[in-house]
């Protein structure tokens, strides 16, 4: 009987020379990716896990058994009912943005399982597709039981089927990253940038927070998923290495593009969870500190190891660490009815913590939070609308997220004329991505474009109800319904630049 080392290379490396068709016909460039290289250029493709199907099935079976036991032990409705409501919002945000995106990643992996240029790559991509199917099913099965208790959990499955603005932004990202990218771009963008660089923020960082928040089910779910991610993310390195040998300019451009797009996604999902939704007593690190460790330090080292430069907008990215998710969260809180999870109004202790973690920027946000808190104090518990915006907000024509770039003093939005139409972008990198491939993005309409085209209502309430798929039973509210003990004290006098707070609500 053959030893593993003897038969495994034969099982993984099953490429052969075609005699009836050409390699170009089997792997057309339009589907297999650019640049199209000769088969010999891919023959050294390899990744460190070198798993056989039998080994994969055995390991995954054990993981599933463990996960089933965990779900039985700590994944029941009662286990979640004991958790902090703010933390549960972090869970809702995570599950809704990841579960069906993981399903899109099944398709991205399957495209590589057919059109990846090396057989070992195709084998790994097959396992990757099975992984991602698992990552779709685990959160959906876990949270489905909670829907009867809290209808917002329904959005774990529902979000991507709606025209909610976060869904439009999510689909814009996922459609390009996972559904339409060729295997080369998919490998660089998803495996190298998104999974190697950024998912640690969510699957390691959020897992740590889940443990501290007493949420064993989410902690162990994230850890189980991360073990898969760590394996199939290894597809990225050898694809990137081959691309770098033949087209380093394209490699750098793909990294620059997908780093920015990934960063925006994680700033929303992880940034909100770490700095606002997790109860203060369970926070150990700020979002910025996590990004500095996992991205600024570790991922930057990986870029250097491959001979890649830091993305051209690196100084702007570093500035964003102090601002972007704070800009977004303050905006989201005051438009929370456009979301499907509840938001936390940061009180004096939370503001003090944020000030200590963001000493150079958070002073610019404190007047905003004092203003909102004072309005909530005047309105009293149970009144949502007095701390809620009524004017539609505007969206970036690339990332489809709200225009929250830059700083409170200088929003970084910029407009651009292209082919007779005016576009707006939240940032220079988003404008750069658009200008690099306008034919890829120009036809897409943001929420504002849909309003102006008569496809979506301009009235905010109608927009929420008939277009975003929300109603009062499920849309986002203040997590405490405005009943914070710290609001019972005297009003905080506004600074001169904060002015008077206006009249009390009717």
């Amino acid at each position: 009987m053959l030893e593993r080392e003897d038969w495994l290379p034969l099982a993984r490396k099953l490429d052969w020379e075609f005699s009836y068709v050409s390699a170009r016909e089997v792997f057309p460039e339009a589907v297999s990716g650019t640049p199209w290289l000769e088969p010999a250029d891919w023959q050294d493709w390899d990744e460190p896990y070198r798993t056989s199907f039998g080994e994969y099935a055995a390991v995954q079976h054990q993981k599933e058994l463990r996960w089933g036991a965990i779900r039985e032990a700590v994944g029941r409705v009662g286990d979640f009912q004991r958790l902090d409501r703010g933390w549960l919002s972090a869970v809702k945000l995570h599950a809704s943005t990841f579960a069906l995106a993981e399903f899109a990643a099944v398709m991205g992996n399957l495209r590589a399982a057919r059109f990846g240029r090396d057989s070992a790559w195709r084998t790994s991509a097959t396992f990757g597709a099975l992984d991602e199917l698992r990552h779709t099913q685990i959160p959906l099965t876990l949270l489905h039981d909670l829907v009867r208790w809290d209808v917002q959990f329904d959005w774990a499955h529902k979000l991507f089927h709606t025209n909610n603005w976060v869904s439009i932004a999510g689909r814009h990202l996922v459609d390009e990253l996972l559904l339409s990218a060729d295997p080369i771009e998919f490998a660089v963008a998803t495996h190298f940038v998104f999974e190697t660089g950024f998912t640690n923020l969510q699957f390691v960082g959020l897992s740590t927070l889940a443990r501290d928040a007493g949420d064993r089910a989410i902690e162990l779910m994230l850890q189980s998923i991360q073990t898969d991610e760590a394996r199939h993310s290894q597809i990225g390195d050898p694809v990137l290495e081959t691309l770098l040998r033949h087209d380093p300019e394209r490699a750098q451009r793909l990294v620059d593009k997908w780093f920015w797009r990934s960063w925006l996604f994680f700033a929303v999902v992880t940034g909100f969870a770490m700095d606002y939704l997790t109860p203060l007593e369970h926070r150990r690190y700020s979002f910025k500190e996590f990004v500095e460790e996992w991205i600024v330090s570790q991922f930057a080292e990986q870029l250097a190891r491959h001979g890649l430069a830091l993305p051209w907008y690196w100084p702007q990215f570093l500035q964003c660490l102090d601002y972007y998710h704070h800009m977004l969260y303050a905006s989201a809180y005051t438009y929370r009815a456009s979301l499907w999870f509840d938001c936390v109004l940061p009180g004096p202790k939370e503001l003090e913590w944020l000030r200590s973690k963001y000493p150079e920027s958070f002073g610019e946000f404190e007047p905003i939070w004092r203003r909102v808190a004072e309005r909530q104090r005047q309105a009293g518990p149970g009144v949502e609308w007095y701390t809620h915006g009524t004017t539609p907000i505007t969206f970036c024509d690339l990332c489809q997220l709200v225009l929250c770039g830059g700083t409170p003093q200088q929003n970084s939005a910029r407009t651009l004329h292209h082919d007779g139409r005016r576009y707006v972008f939240c940032s220079e990198p988003c404008a750069w991505i658009f200008e690099t491939e306008p034919e890829r993005y120009a036809a897409h309409k943001s929420v504002v474009g849909r309003i102006l085209a008569g496809e979506a209502p301009a009235n905010l309430l109608e927009l929420l109800r008939s277009y975003f798929g929300l109603d009062q039973s499920m849309w986002g509210k203040d997590v405490a319904r405005g009943a914070y003990g710290w609001l019972d004290g005297p009003a905080v006098p506004p600074s001169p630049s904060e002015g008077s707070s206006g009249g009390a609500p009717c």
Binding site: H326, R371, G389, C404, P408, A413, R414, V424, P494
Partner: protein
């Protein structure tokens, strides 16, 4: 004719969609934008409106200053001087 604009208030966190008539004045634009941001930013006694680095005269109309659909306008609240809003 309605003119949609991207409005930004200095000190605020997000762009706002302003739907104005081309006959509306810049004064009206300022008041509308300040009211739209008032959940987060207290209305100032006075404010300046800019297109790029050019300040727009408050008595002129949207059409008069040549603002067209989906342009960016910025409002800078002023806290020290007295006067009408916007």
């Amino acid at each position: 004719m309605l003119v949609p604009l991207h409005g930004f208030v200095s000190g605020d966190t997000v762009g706002l969609l302003m739907l104005l008539h081309d006959t509306d004045t810049i004064e009206h634009l300022a008041q509308t934008l300040m009211a739209a941001a008032s959940v987060r930013i207290a209305p100032a006694p006075r404010a300046r409106v800019y297109r790029g680095s050019t300040e727009l005269p408050r008595e002129q109309t949207v059409a008069g200053v040549g603002l067209t659909a989906l342009e960016r306008v910025d409002l800078v609240p002023e806290w020290s001087a007295a006067g009408g809003a916007g």
